[in-house]
Symmetry: C2
DNA sequence: AGTGACTAAATGCATTTGCATGAATTAGTC
DNA sequence: GACTAATTCATGCAAATGCATTTAGTCACT
């Protein structure tokens, strides 16, 4: 349908060595759905959490990662890799967790550039409380709209776009769901 | 519809007045994938556009909506509804488009509270140029990883989460892909 | 016409993000 | 060991975002 674009709008497209193929209507539709639905569902879940008086989801993700780490501590760099967020973002997220008494910075003796971040008891408790509200929101906005079989299919299709998202499903579902 | 909900009853669920049903591992896994993959794919596409020297996707969406509107103009409120972004966000987006000469504010005679926003020739050109890069990015990050049949399946599954995202696929793909 | 409820859009202010850079430390190389 | 490159983390600054409020205009009703 957008053939006319290819045909005469853009001579650039046919020139470069970087040949630009146009997506099928199906692919485009999938892209749109992926963007719109994700945004809606995420919004809905975050709103639920917020209404219940909880901090943003990113905090949960960080607390979950920390709580899973051996002895509840990890390096910021590691956290950064797990959460797939930029370095400065991690740094500031940790700032806020520390400010709220949910985590603490510990000196790192083996590498003096770095540090360790350790989750506190309060942090662990918050993570658990949040999971209760969070899981309810997931059920409400995802689980209740899809059979398990369909959810699994959806996973499979999405995975092909990202080439695996790291974590085994069984692990992920054990006591929480990291997001980004 | 959601028979699986009724199937099992754990003690937790049947306790509170606020019935918190836990999601299945499949649902949780789907949620995680939806969040992570979307974020990755969106990032990848936005990066491609940025590297090509183009403004953010939101600009494209707005320009596309405007270019589709009869005589290339619409009310901010309408744009807001189409794009599913907050009112203040629309207001500022328009500011930026106007600053760059991509759109112009027009007086609205029938309702003096409001206004019309009209896309300029430059705006239309930018929209077309962006679509060329944008569509290439969609093909690269979505189309090339999924058969058309699978893309269609993915659409179907996602649609069930959001209960339709407004637009008919054929229309959406005609000359662009609005995102949020 | 006057009042109050409502809608369209803009804006002030605090918070958050993105980007680039800086400071400290470690690693690699000769 | 001295020098350069790479790493870990923090931060200043500009831009973007979210939220609440303001301004201006409309509408319904009496």
């Amino acid at each position: 349908m957008q053939l006319h674009l290819v045909r005469y709008t853009d001579p650039l497209t046919s020139m470069g060595p970087a040949m630009k193929r146009k997506p099928s209507t199906e692919a485009t539709a999938a892209w749109i759905r992926l963007m719109r639905i994700q945004s809606r569902v995420l919004d809905a879940v975050e709103q639920d959490l917020k209404k219940a008086g909880f901090p943003p989801l990113a905090w949960y993700d960080a607390l979950l990662e920390l709580s899973r780490a051996p002895s509840g501590e990890m390096r910021p760099v590691e956290l950064e890799k797990q959460m797939l967020i930029p370095q400065y973002s991690t740094s500031r997220l940790i700032d806020r967790l520390v400010d709220e008494g949910l985590a603490a910075r510990r000196e790192c003796k083996i590498d003096k550039r770095g540090q360790f971040v350790e989750i506190t008891e309060v942090g662990r408790e918050l993570q658990k409380k949040m999971w209760s509200a969070y899981s309810a929101a997931i059920e409400k906005h995802v689980g209740s709209k899809l059979s398990d079989a369909d959810a699994a299919k959806l996973c499979g299709l999405l995975d092909r776009l990202g080439c695996s998202c790291g974590e085994a499903p069984s692990l992920a579902a054990r006591d929480g769901a990291p997001v980004r």
